[in-house]
Amino acid sequence: MSQLHPQVEHLLRRAGFGVSAADLPTFRDMSPADAVDYLVDYEGRPDDVDARIGRPDHAQVTTRDLFAPDVDIDDARQRWLFRMIHTRRPLQEKMAMFWHNHFATAFSKLSADSGNLQAAKMLAHKAGILRGPQGQLELFRQFALGNFRDLLLQIAMDPAMLVWLDGQSNTKGMPQENFGREVMELFTVGVGNYTESDVYAAARVFTGWNLRESTGYSSDDMNAYQEFVYNAAEHETSAKTFSFPISGGGNHTIPSRSESAGMQDGVDLITALAVHPETARRLARKLWNFFVSDVQAPDPTFIEGTAAVYLQSGTEIRPVVRYILTSPWFNDPSMRYARYSWPAEYVARAIKEVGWQNFSLDRARAPLANMGMLLFEPPNVGGWPIGAGWFSTGTMLARSNFAATLASSQKDFLASSYQATASTPEGLLSAMLDRVTPAPFDSIPQQALMSYLLAGGAWTGSDTQLNTRTAGLARLLVGSAEYQFV
């Protein structure tokens, strides 16, 4: 029924955000192997998606005074959704979302600390026009398939993270444990692989990793910024001993260093954590849940294989993701639809599959919050409760109500797009299932869909009937339980 190789469709749901009508020519004749290369080796295609914001044949954004996604968080949310829908590099945006959840940092705390404008800039600033370092999301895009150790080091110096986990006030007098704990518990090795004494030591390692303000800083100045500074005078210089090896030789201690040389402490710890075998396994488990399945426990062989690729490649992520996407686990047909979609994935895919004519992405903002995934606002540093955790009566209602909002906005477009196939209700249903891709329906929902199409009286295919029923059908498909899986 589908117009694509089913495995390509699967790849594009998992390693992208689905397939729009405009994408079809690109992928129609692609083999799964070619599609993996297309997705993974994205650097050959330009990162030009932002330049297409505002084009009438694309999804729309709502501009208030001025569209300012570098400094306005709601505009940044619109830009990111726009990228998910229209990018030529879907896996880059997908991995950015993965890292956003892994290094979960929330706008609200940054905003309470530094004001709305600076908080948005710390998260979303795309370097170019304004002064100051790039925002955290751009870091995730830059390192989407890059080196994990390098990303971790950048994150430890990232202004948003320094505010979020209070590194900005980590000083030698009274070290601050927040980042020191989470870098082990959540970003790398995980609970059970470090001790309380490691937490104290890690806090001391990062003393002096602070922030400084730009000259003449004013929080409402778009060109003002905060940036990382290694504040040598605030670094605690004694030796720090850990329960795990710091260097390859099994030494567990970071030596005492002078204040001026002390920044190396953090580099040593980050390197040790990045190459720790438990970090490799933990990333492998998270990537299993992200790419392969979150309804089936990871196969230990997969974990060891993925962890080995990660460690052998020197913590590079690109070979890891290529290994996963070409692995027998990912390519097992029983893994199709074996993952609960994240709300942002759900919204982007629904828009790609149903249509975006004159649809402003700002209309997805409140629904995404009700679905439990306002971008740039994870509930806590552990990220979102993925998998079945996305689903409750309230969030499911929010999903199906978004389907209604979208279908309602596309009424005329849907009626005209499906007119040619709507001489019978069966024809309409199967044509829509070519573009809108829920998991297969059992007979009960199939009957419900057919009875809905016929509930208004005998099928005539009249304009009125088409106008009502195509939109209602799109709402039922996208709002179905079957559609909540990717």
Partner: protein, 418 residues
């Protein structure tokens, strides 16, 4: 206005969901299903509440020496008397509402609650408070297991979660809990109107009724969809409630307002879950006069006072108990950011018309070397097992045997809060 009635079949047993006109009737159904008139509201303070600044041992010199910038001055605390070990105690100055309830004799403060080898991880600790098993942070939750004891079929609104995600405490193999953070947006939207919209809703309901044999994850999502459709009309009842007091205009206050609406309109929920965040105060906690922690206490105290006043005005205080907990307390000494890092034992609070108010347990002595401390005197050691408080609530308030629900007997030494 016509009454909308839909009869539908679930698990082979007919259950009736009725619309606008018959709240008492609904309540009767709930009663007939074994739900008594008693409700429990569980409030979770997310992030690890700094219990030492909630209930303050204001004559302990180490409290001031170890917290030079964030200690609340003795002159500002709301005094609640002296505990069995002779510690003079006072509530945070922004908890005036809770102080009122304490002075009326209906607020219990259970000091140093926790468990051996307290987890300092937010996620593991929250899960442990949920499972009620310090050895396991996975599996079902204590409130979910309580719901499993109720007669089947379980009313779809037997419990009401006001947060978006389902906390582990509410997880259960047999009893789903609807998440209804905002009753006013809890409605069914359609691209069409009139008959077409109703036909679409019927189709959605039929699709969600698919048992999806052999597809358990699909069946689970269908269950959430079905739960939503089944509860829409009753939730609308609760959201149309006009309270007798003004609730603070913040998420916590509005969640409590929703709970009060559900209780007063008699939707029949026996259990409510409310959470409020921001308690991970690693920095800028502030002292008594202001700062981040004072804002948290203001949000908490003002919201709970509005709720208690409202429920009392409606004559329902004796049917309602509220309990508060957090995943851990915080370190005794402040850090360099005028905040506190993750610690161990905390404070549980219970209030309601039938709660026996007072101070339970003893405060820690904060001088280094005290046996009431742990982790090289960095943290407060627990005195009362949190599960004994759960046991008391289950046995004496909800009226079920706590032993199977908690997978153990924790009744001995439970604070006699009822």
């Amino acid at each position: 206005m016509p009454v909308s009635r839909r009869l539908f079949i679930r698990n082979g047993v007919a259950t009736l969901t009725v619309g606008l006109a018959a709240p008492r009737f609904l309540y009767d159904i709930a009663q007939a299903q074994g739900l008594s008139s008693r409700r429990l509201v569980v409030v979770y303070l997310g992030g690890g509440n700094d219990a030492l600044n909630t209930l303050i041992s204001y004559q302990d010199p180490s409290y001031y020496s170890r917290r030079p910038t964030i200690a609340v001055p003795a002159g500002q605390v709301l005094q609640v008397g002296t505990d069995a070990a002779g510690h003079a105690l006072g509530l945070h100055p922004r908890l005036g509402g809770l102080w009122n309830i304490f002075n009326e004799g209906h607020l219990a403060l259970v000091q140093r609650t926790g468990y051996q080898n307290s987890s300092r991880s937010h996620f593991e600790a929250t899960d442990i408070w949920g499972t009620a098993n310090p050895q396991s942070s996975t599996g079902s939750g204590w409130l979910g297991r309580y719901l499993d004891t109720l007669p089947r079929p379980l009313d779809a609104l037997a419990a009401w979660n006001t947060s978006e995600e389902t906390p582990r405490a509410l997880l259960s193999a047999q009893s789903g809990v609807p998440a209804i953070p905002n009753a006013t947006t809890y409605t069914y939207a359609s691209p069409n109107r009139g008959a077409a919209a109703q036909q679409e809703r019927n189709a959605a309901q039929m699709m969600a009724a698919n048992p999806a044999m052999g597809r358990p994850h699909l069946a689970f999502v269908n269950g959430t969809s079905r739960g939503a459709i089944e509860t829409l009309d009753r939730v609308a009842q609760a959201s149309s409630y006009t309270p007798s007091v003004v609730y603070p205009n913040n998420g916590f206050g509005q969640a409590l307002r929703t709970v009060a609406g559900a209780i007063v309109r008699g939707v029949g929920s026996r259990l409510y879950w409310v959470q409020t965040g921001g308690y991970d105060t690693h920095a800028q906690q502030g002292g008594g006069g202001g700062g981040g922690y004072s804002i948290l206490m203001g949000t908490l105290g003002d919201g709970l006072w509005a709720f208690y006043s409202d429920i009392r005005n409606q004559g329902l205080a004796n049917d309602t108990t509220v309990i508060l907990f957090s995943e851990f307390g915080r370190r005794i000494s402040e850090n360099g950011s005028s905040g506190t890092d993750h610690g161990a034992a905390g404070l549980m609070v219970a209030f309601g018309g039938m709660v026996r108010g007072g101070l339970y347990g003893t405060a820690a002595s904060l001088a280094p070397g005290s046996p009431t401390l742990e982790n090289s005197s960095g943290d407060v050691h627990y005195e009362t097992d949190f599960r004994s408080v759960y046991a008391r609530v289950l046995d004496q308030w909800l009226g079920v045997n706590s032993v199977p629900v908690l997978n153990g007997d924790f009744r001995a030494g439970a604070p006699a809060i009822f």
